[in-house]
Symmetry: C2
Subunit: 138 residues, 2 copies
């Protein structure tokens, strides 16, 4: 029986289409599939993408920690993959997901909660819906 | 009378909030403001962002050409800035825009027109609505 390496295999069409950068990464935008909200932007490598496709639970690559980042692993705020899209030049992915709870570590639904106002300042546009202390058991 | 440098100035709150990378760039996701469609992902530097805020017409930084990329300058498919948002760690911008015509150089509304199917292949999900030859006068 052949040994099949699941976690680092990508479908051939994806491997051909994705232009991983010189660090082996591709950026990924997560969008709530039904509402269209942009939730966050992060990076993936081959391994995190292959795991995401296998489990249908989104896994990123954490550049700061240098390891796989299984979204929601500690906070419970997971992202279920609904659809994977890729852009024309292959250097960005669009993850259409179903976000459980909040995407942002600040306890807001989306990481994009600051908006430039007409005075050149930044307004908070989204409420904290979950206490970050509860998310991370502080 | 003081000379005011407009094109490289950013509002102080933005300058403080944005984490430009080691090449002086920040990624930007363009989203149609009313429909929620993700149109494209590109990069900005301080100059392109300052020009965008000044003119309200989106200008990116082209990494391949090493110059300002005034979106739609040759194709006429401009993006009007409606709202600028920034994420929690400051390394991504969300440009809520009004896209004239098509965002993609292939003549499709969005650059994200390929979707992974259940067989591991990529399906085209958006039609070509404008002949690319017409967009670029070929």
């Amino acid at each position: 029986m052949e040994h099949r390496i699941i976690m680092s295999d990508l479908p051939a069409a994806l491997e051909e289409a994705i232009a991983f950068n010189d660090k082996g990464l591709v950026m990924a935008v997560a969008q709530q599939h039904d509402s269209g909200e942009i939730l966050m932007v992060a990076w993936m490598n081959r391994e995190s993408l292959a795991e995401t496709l296998e489990t249908r639970q989104v896994c990123y690559w954490s550049r700061s920690r240098g390891k796989l980042w299984r979204k929601g692993e500690s906070s419970g705020q997971t992202q279920k993959l609904v659809e994977l899209q890729i852009d024309c030049d292959g250097d960005s992915l669009l993850l259409r997901v179903d976000q459980k709870g909040v995407a942002c570590h600040t306890g807001r639904r989306s990481c994009f909660y600051r908006s430039l106002n007409t005075d050149g300042g930044l307004d908070d546009t989204l409420p904290v819906v979950t206490d970050p202390g509860k998310l991370y058991g502080a």
